[in-house]
Symmetry: C2
């Protein structure tokens, strides 16, 4: 029920995900409305609906969401807790979905905090940036766990066998950055050095803001404040650059003629940056996965988000996270055993 | 003597600044080399040279720079201390120039920390972003001072009478962000509320990363870690977008034909983003101003940096900062008196 175009576009996107990708899903929300929209799509019998009488409003923050046990997101969480679903998709407010999911799904054992991960449009493989905003104030031990969450994501969704991990900071030399970044880099270096009681990680050191889109690593770790600022700075700058190009290309009669010829090339380009094509942010580290699509998502964006949720669930990302940072994490190949109570002091 | 193309391009840029903009300047560096380069430009008698036998290496960080009292930057600082110059320009390593200038020029009275400011290419007026990297770990009281430093910059270099100031954070509502941002926003709100013992500021609240290039405010305040990440994320994203455009425009024979027609439009565009056109980062809050040009600056970049240093010196930015945050800051028009020892506890 969340998002600017809910529930019409959500239902359309869900129907597409079922028909075109074979995703198995349940719609959660106001039954009469959803039933009638499904009928319109000729999909009344194809997709089950679970009734939820309430919905989070787009402006509602973390606190309000706790007080709505019957919101569609809360009911979806209940389905996951009961084992009737593995992941949820919502286009509701990020704050509301993060808070509701965290409270109702709870962090996995030994996971200090869930983190919000986004896939940046790098080539040939997307780069996972996390935390993109779930934890504005973080501790080094959390960031080390985020690295594992991101590695599990890159492995599951992007098929990277041993994800290369870097930390976002200022100055690429060791020892650069603020206190949090310096301490985190120290801890991450230890995870890649060999058996230290930590699960193994292919930590490649520090990267700076201008390398976020270079595709040199598979996972970029940072705190939620820096990550959110960086992500939005990238989005704003890309939009600014395209606007500037469009303006420049239209600025003379001669170049306008050229622009007509290029309409098709530019359309391919715009699609690549279109938020609809990325599937959304993923909240990792809970007992179940939440995919948060852009609030302005239409059917295509919802279809992609459902597909992403399906891939993460099919790849058993929750189990992977438990193997990496859960209390029973054990050495398996290059994954070394780590202490079950690691980092608890900072929770 | 600093920069990838020193001293040839530095000398060329300096000569242009003198001849085309009437900037009065002194070259500091190895005398024989500089004299011979000036002769090549036919400018031997036009620009005085002060000898400095040493130079900071590009890779040298903060510590090494202290041990080089005869580097060209150190000698330039001495000229400022003696009153023989008002500002210095260097294309040397940012870390080295920041450290040397801070140690040798010293912060102005009551200024807790100098900050590095950059002008983002917004329209119609550039937006000043600071701190862009001088202080990786900052305190709220420092950020309030950065707001004043940035306002003095916007006023002096961009002619903005009452600069609009915003704070970079996540979520535009009050109360969003990490601890540092929340506390800073509280303090900044107090400065715009009226006579509170602080100099007045037109504080417009919070902005997010995607608004950095919207031109909605004249000054954006943040800590040096977040600011550096944001700045580099923007630079990297703009480069990425242009590369993608170039690739797309060249991808078919038809669009290649179009591209020829547009070569001129795109060149104008590239220039707008070219670092050469911005003059460089400015270290504010010291007893004298340091303009740090990009390390890869050529003559044009150095010319612009000299012009920026000239404008800041002619506008008496050091006096303006003293009036805003110095111990003798007094009410003048909407500038209210502030306590002389404000924020000292955090130094």
């Amino acid at each position: 029920m969340g998002g600017d175009h809910a529930p019409e576009e959500i239902v359309k996107g869900a129907v597409r995900a079922v028909r075109e990708h074979g995703v198995r899903l349940v719609l959660v929300g106001r039954l009469p409305e959803l039933a009638s929209l499904l009928s319109k799509e000729g999909a009344r019998g194809e997709i089950p609906v679970v009734h939820a009488e309430d919905a989070l409003a787009m402006h509602e923050g973390a606190l309000a969401s706790w007080r709505r046990p019957r919101s569609s997101v809360a009911v979806a969480c209940r389905l996951i807790r009961r084992g009737d679903a593995s992941a949820l998709v919502s286009a509701g407010s990020t704050g509301g979905v993060v808070a509701t999911s965290t409270v109702r799904l709870r962090p996995q054992p030994s996971v200090l905090r869930p983190a919000l991960a986004v896939a940046l449009p790098t080539r040939p493989v997307p780069t996972v940036l996390l935390d993109a905003g779930a934890n504005a104030d973080a501790k080094p031990e959390m960031l080390v766990q985020f690295a594992h969450l991101g590695a599990a994501y890159a492995h599951t969704a992007h098929g990277v066998a041993e994800p290369r991990v870097a930390m976002l900071t200022i100055g690429s030399e060791p020892g650069k950055g603020n206190k949090l970044a310096r301490k985190t880099a120290e801890l991450l270096s230890a995870t890649s050095a060999g058996p230290t009681g930590q699960s193994w990680l292919d930590f490649r050191g520090n990267i700076e803001g201008h390398d976020l889109l270079s595709g040199e690593v598979d996972v970029v770790v940072t705190d939620g404040f820096t990550g959110n600022v960086a992500l939005k700075s990238v989005e704003g700058a890309v939009r600014f650059a395209f606007d500037t190009v469009r303006e420049a290309l239209g600025s003379t009669a001669v170049s306008r003629a050229g622009t007509l010829l290029q309409r098709k090339s530019l359309r391919g380009l715009r699609d690549r940056f279109d938020s609809e094509t990325y599937g959304g942010a993923v909240l990792l580290g809970l007992n179940g996965t939440a995919v948060i699509a852009h609030g302005d998502s239409r059917a295509q964006g919802i279809e992609r988000a459902c597909l992403l949720a399906h891939e993460l669930a099919a790849g058993r990302i929750v189990d992977q996270v438990r193997r990496r940072i859960g209390p029973s994490a054990r050495s398996a190949g290059r994954l070394h055993r780590k202490a079950g109570n690691e980092g608890q002091g900072s929770g």
